[in-house]
């Protein structure tokens, strides 16, 4: 199936929760999904026999300065097709359902997005920092992040 056909399937099933087919100037063509429906959409993509997205390639986070996004690259090894989903989240309170129960890959990817961008994945089995030390303050890939002057007595200046 082409991504456009997948988009049509999703719109037919989930209606308003699915945004228009988007082909940005830069980056991958993708489908915007309402945060509240993300888990249901992903479960459908994984379990529908015609779609059968059995492989989550990656989850990435984006800081657009006015909002955050969580982006999902999905692939079906059975059918050889792929699609990209994007959920836009409030910068002040970025929360979206975890998909770690659907694809175990999501576990570490969501921890990384939490660590570096502060996106909260609700229902994640253990949303802890994965790269930075546990006691690090802030989420460094946010555009307004300021590096600390020192960490444990070692200065950064």
């Amino acid at each position: 199936m082409t991504p456009q056909e997948i988009h049509a399937r999703l719109t037919e099933r989930f209606g308003d929760a699915i945004g228009p087919w988007t082909e940005p100037e830069r980056g991958d063509p993708h489908i915007a999904v309402a945060p509240g429906s993300l888990h249901a959409v992903c479960a459908f993509l994984r379990d529908d026999p015609e779609l059968k997205f059995d492989y989550l390639q990656l989850i990435s986070g984006v800081d657009w300065t006015d909002r955050l996004s969580s982006v999902y690259h999905l692939m079906s090894l059975s059918h050889g097709h792929g699609v990209v989903l994007r959920v836009d989240l409030e910068r002040g309170n970025p929360r979206v359902a975890s998909v770690a129960d659907l694809w175990p890959t999501a576990d570490w990817h969501e921890r990384e997005a939490w660590d570096l961008l502060g996106i909260v994945y609700e229902g994640h089995p253990g949303l802890r920092r994965i790269l930075l030390p546990e006691d690090w303050e802030g989420h460094p890939l946010r555009k307004d992040y300021a590096a600390p002057a020192a960490y444990h007595g070692v200065t950064n200046a």
């Binding site: 930075l132 460094p140 992040y145 590096a147 600390p148 960490y151 444990h152 070692v154 200065t155």
Partner: protein, 211 residues
């Protein structure tokens, strides 16, 4: 009455050295030791110089590095350890898996704030004498992460004392070898016994203890 054979005057340390050492370069070196000993008020404790030279020779030619690499510089370090550059030729090829057996810490690669406490602990676990080599731009001053690298220690001399800096990103194997030679040369001029012997000489001069 039998006359004792005429006592020959005691030979000076310099005379003894001139008799014992034939190689002019070695002699110059030992005479410079002697000058230093004299200038530091240690009398004619001539044994110190050759013994220190022997200790330094042993130390410099048997530097056991600690096996650890933190980033891409470690790849160059591995190349230096392998057959093409063969660090073992210079007595520094015995990479030890524990700091307790190592003399030399080659910090090869980016040190993050998360890693810094581990690096400090490894340094503290190395017995004296110990030497630290900061290999590559990251360990010298943060390298490419100096401005935006919130997670990188901007030079490992902020956390451990450094003996030799090896510039490069990463340094070529030849550069690491050169640093090793410089470190060995420096160890050659160390005074491992100086503190102990100057105390002894002091006692000798003040008569506070038997020499």
């Amino acid at each position: 009455m039998s006359a004792n054979p005429p006592a020959s005057p005691p030979r000076t340390a310099e005379q003894m050295l001139r008799e014992a050492i034939t190689d002019p370069r070695e002699l110059t070196r030992y005479l410079s030791y002697l000058d230093r000993i004299k200038s530091e008020g240690m009398g004619t404790s001539v044994m110190v110089a050759p013994l220190e030279a022997a200790i330094n020779w042993a130390r410099a030619n048997s530097l056991w590095p600690l096996t650890f690499g933190l980033a891409c510089c470690a790849i160059e370090m591995m190349a230096v350890g392998a057959s093409r550059f063969d660090l073992d030729r210079f007595g520094a090829g015995a990479f030890r898996p524990t700091p307790r057996q190592a003399d030399l810490m080659i910090v090869a690669g980016t040190v993050t704030h998360k890693m810094a406490p581990r690096v400090m602990r490894l340094y503290e676990q190395i017995p004296e004498p110990k030497f630290v080599m900061a290999m590559g731009a990251c360990t010298i001053g943060g390298g490419p992460y100096v401005k935006h690298g919130y997670h990188v220690v901007k030079g490992i001399d902020r956390i451990v004392p450094v003996d030799i800096y090896v510039p490069g990103c990463p340094p070529r194997p030849e550069a690491l070898l050169d640093a090793l030679f410089k470190l060995q040369a420096r160890i050659g001029s160390d005074r491992p016994l100086a503190a102990r012997w100057s105390k002894r000489a002091e006692n000798e001069l003040t008569g506070s203890a038997r020499p």
